[in-house]
Symmetry: C2
Subunit: 232 residues, 2 copies
DNA sequence: CCTACCGATCGGTAGG
DNA sequence: CCTACCGATCGGTAGG
């Protein structure tokens, strides 16, 4: 747990009436208790994501998660209705963040060449998968069978939105000849190649994300044939 | 379970003296009891592979597995020392079969063009992943974190052998210019793309394995640039 | 391979 | 969010 450890405020005040009575009257401060509460929830999500990723959902106990944030065994259920709900929240969190970041990437590259746009998608995807706070998406990728079908359906919708960001770019590349395989299968294969990186990527070793991006681009598209226009 | 089912020796006669006394003396028949027994072990492996794949290792109970083959809850432990041992056996089984098939493919394509050789590797890989009896390898791909480290190391060795079959082919393709990305990263990305197919492949829908093979080849290598020689 | 179990663990809850 | 629990389930075993 690196950087974002700072974000972890933690702490629960003693179940001690003094504190409550001591607090200033009037509009309750949104800062202390509420923010604290929000952070506790966030702490649980982060801890759950890490544990679910490393041990799997079924092999992780709610006691593991509680211990990871310094709670007692029953306390996670104060924040989440069930272990299932925690898993779903982790996945939603991850998917929303990923979608948001990828949308920004797409928007910032409007007008650039298709291969530049693909480079952006691939880079952001790798960052979401391998960068900081990167436990959420792997959990979504590898644990979705543990969800209830209604939850799975909701996430599938988000995933479709995510994939839809890739399609026009791949279509352009296909049209220019830089991408030879059919668009639909290409998207599945490409995302598979990237997603699999969570299985072998080792940040302490050799290739960094930048290298990965270039290798992926080189593998998938023929840059000579590509870039019919622009190129910023 | 194909061929090697014969290798499974196993044993133990009914805990019923009558059976033993009734059986013809002399060399024990290898047909009934023993073959039956061997099949039981194979049945367990097959059932475990399917359940581990669909529900995950941790979410599958040994009772699930027993029920799947019509045994009582304690009986799987007569064949396997522990749930762990069952998982390991499933993975070994899958990995040995995959290695064997892939070795045959490589041998049968000696002298052919590098892109033809890659086609063979990709095709066999898809068949192992998506064809009949294809629960074993996905279990190995997605559940290895549940293994003990000694077991994981043993499987890692087999996986290295498997990957080693790809390297010379990819090197040749890289040398000819048909593969643009570096060989080591290419292998990781390519195998990732293929492995991910178990997540989305639907045999009842659209693309068959043959189509997949062609799409993958088109995606990864530039057939125009390739095939400097041969081509059988 | 079945019967009959055991000890441990687990998700979850009441009540404060 | 803690304390103190409960009911259910699970991997595994003895003994035949």
């Amino acid at each position: 747990m690196p950087a974002h450890a700072a974000t972890v405020p933690a702490r629960k005040f003693a179940p001690d009436a003094r504190l409550v009575l001591t607090r200033p009257r009037g509009r309750p401060r949104k800062t202390l208790l509420e923010r604290d509460d929000g952070n506790r929830r966030a702490d649980l999500l982060r801890a759950a994501a890490a544990l679910f990723r490393n041990q799997g959902f079924a092999a992780t106990t709610t006691r593991d998660i509680a211990a990871a944030v310094g709670m007692q065994s029953g306390s996670p259920f104060y924040h989440f209705k069930s272990k299932d709900a925690l898993l779903f929240a982790v996945m939603q969190e991850g998917m929303h963040a990923a979608l948001e970041r990828q949308r920004e990437t797409v928007q910032s590259r409007i007008g650039q060449s298709p291969s530049e746009q693909l480079r952006g998608l691939v880079q952001t995807h790798f960052q979401v998968l391998l960068g900081p706070d990167s436990d959420f998406i792997p959990v979504m990728l590898y644990e979705s069978r543990s969800l209830q079908s209604a939850q799975r359906a909701e996430l599938a919708a988000l995933q479709s939105e995510y994939e839809a960001l890739w399609t026009p770019v791949l279509s352009d590349l296909h049209a220019s000849g830089a991408l030879r395989a059919p668009v639909a299968l290409s998207r599945l294969l490409i995302l598979g190649a990237l997603n699999w990186s969570v299985q072998w990527f080792d940040p302490s070793r050799s290739a960094g994300v930048a290298e990965l991006v270039e290798a992926a681009l080189a593998l998938f598209i023929d840059t000579r044939a590509a870039d019919g226009f622009a190129g910023a």
